[in-house]
Symmetry: C2
Subunit: 410 residues, 2 copies
Amino acid sequence: MVPSEIRALFAMVARPEVVSLAGGAPYVSALPLDAVGRMIGDLVAGKGAEVLQYGSAQGDERLREHICEVMALEGVQASADDVVVTVGAQQALDLITKIFVDPGDVVLAEAPSYVGALGTFASYQADVVHVPLDEGGLIPAALRETLARLRREGRRVKFLYTVPTFQNPAGVTLTTARRAQILEICAEYDVLVVEDNPYGLLGFDGDPMRALRADDSQRVIYLGSFSKTIASGLRVGWVLAPHAVRAKLVLAAESAILCPSNFSQLAVREYLATQPWREQIKGFRELYRARRDAMLDSLDQLMPDGCTWTRPAGGFFVWLTLPEGLDSKAMAPRAIAERVAYVPGTGFYADGTGHRHMRLSYCFPEPHRIREGVRRLAAVIEQEVRLRDTFGGTVAGNSVGVQAPGPDVV
Amino acid sequence: MVPSEIRALFAMVARPEVVSLAGGAPYVSALPLDAVGRMIGDLVAGKGAEVLQYGSAQGDERLREHICEVMALEGVQASADDVVVTVGAQQALDLITKIFVDPGDVVLAEAPSYVGALGTFASYQADVVHVPLDEGGLIPAALRETLARLRREGRRVKFLYTVPTFQNPAGVTLTTARRAQILEICAEYDVLVVEDNPYGLLGFDGDPMRALRADDSQRVIYLGSFSKTIASGLRVGWVLAPHAVRAKLVLAAESAILCPSNFSQLAVREYLATQPWREQIKGFRELYRARRDAMLDSLDQLMPDGCTWTRPAGGFFVWLTLPEGLDSKAMAPRAIAERVAYVPGTGFYADGTGHRHMRLSYCFPEPHRIREGVRRLAAVIEQEVRLRDTFGGTVAGNSVGVQAPGPDVV
């Protein structure tokens, strides 16, 4: 497609009659906006000289202490001194890649992996090598095999990038048993682990999973974010890194942005210090659980034979695999014409694969809209199956892929 | 100095009894904090679903329209479509350098130049070549000579980085006649100009200077910021670039941070749309003019023979040159012991020079503190002159340089 066609397509996705199962935007309207507004207004009026001023490149110290409390919910013991506040976890990814990756270095990532990370790795000319996952997350045997092969080939592997919990885009979670195995394998091959964990506190059953970082403070660089648990528009994320890496991160952050926004940071600090944030996150979990249920119920009822999908226990995403011979990228414009949008699977692979997959998100639309979206999508897929049976394969058509992460696919 | 000594020194600078003429932090307490707090509180309560959500990588469209109105005050005609909102102008510098500079490429910069830019250029392994300035700003003949030499040497010059108006750190302003010459020379040698203009609206006499960008929309990339005119803690800056560069900037920004904060952006948008910002900036100009006057008056009265300094017509900084044989870097710990701080000149040169210079800022301390700071500094310099006359040169001692931009030296 030419750019004008892509723009036209994206403009259509934004139309209210289209049910978007594409975006990864959290449902921030569920926040207590009046209370938050009052809190922030008072903060600016009362502490404006600090809130509106430059801060340190590492980020506000008291906020970093609160961040350590948040991470403790996932078993992470950390010192505020080893935390660097970033402009969302995306900036942490960017800084880590800048520090570690020279052109041609290998970065390992799940297949599929977060589109925004793949974009950053590409921007530093990393060579992304995918390692498959299944319903239990990254497959340890596949990781070992890949590392052995790369070693034989004399390749330099800089780190494993993983979203172990409620993965974006696959919606799967690394099992407890596999967590230990992954850490062991990475130790054996002396590979760093970059654990990206924006969804960890948004689990629908029981207590939060124990983070990889909880069991290895030297090998694991942990990325966190308030984008999904509180509000994405604040752009407050963080990285917890071993001390020597942390020092490099602060210098890189200073060079990139001087310092993160005190306005955003102190809003989060005040929120964590004075508002019932644990209850608010619990409310988010219940909200997203109901939407997950709406999506899974509709998929169970409506999807034609040959489709399979994951069953997330938290987070925002379901990963759907189409019947053989169908192509999610080619199908996307036809789905939008039927007023339903998703992200084609191709965006989540660095190697040009993913055509049979798509990411469906349930985080933003209300449950009745999710059901309607799945109904429309099922009809489109049925139509595609008929076309395949008549013409022997997906009929070539307009095709749109993910060109860059973009807030609509985070 | 070892790191622990540097930390100890910086901790001393932060003590209230030290007059810091080092920092470049604006005096944000002069903002109408109650009104701003009310405005922001209402904004979050009323439009939280937008304010707290992801935005586009390019930045909010209506904010970009307001930014065009701000730039129009300096003669710049621009379309909001060519503006990219960044995390302060520092991020714009980072993205531009990432896009244009390969290791070993030449970047031209004034001597002295903004320390944060030099840090960014170094992080991409640019080779910074300085071009001297005087009271009238960058010297055209020196620029031409440098470009001719570099061409003979077969060097690749990527851009000229300049702060033409109320320069950081020198406090000088490029004359109108020279502006045309600089643009001509850069056209002749086909070199891009990166015009960094955070202080342009903070002039003490008459109307704002006409920006370089106002007379060349194709060769000049313009960086702007609300850090000095409104509030640094918001971290809202921007870049105005020719269309092809703008497209690359948006992709690079997306990879680096996904999108700038809606929370900060919409606070600025609302402020520009509803508050008397022109009057507020006028108030800032009067505030800083009084502080500039306090500093120049004190320098005139108190500085020993052999010291010279610039006379800024706007912005935050005076650039002081010490008598021959003195070293501002070696002297810094002794000045701090006498409870006055400045930034040694060495931080503003990529070539290891600058020992006889220092940057004095008048933006943050109140006038009576500025006078006291200059009094203390004059006494330290007099003592140094006596030492020089006795021992024939600056006595070697502890020395602290600028290691990275840092909010205390912006």
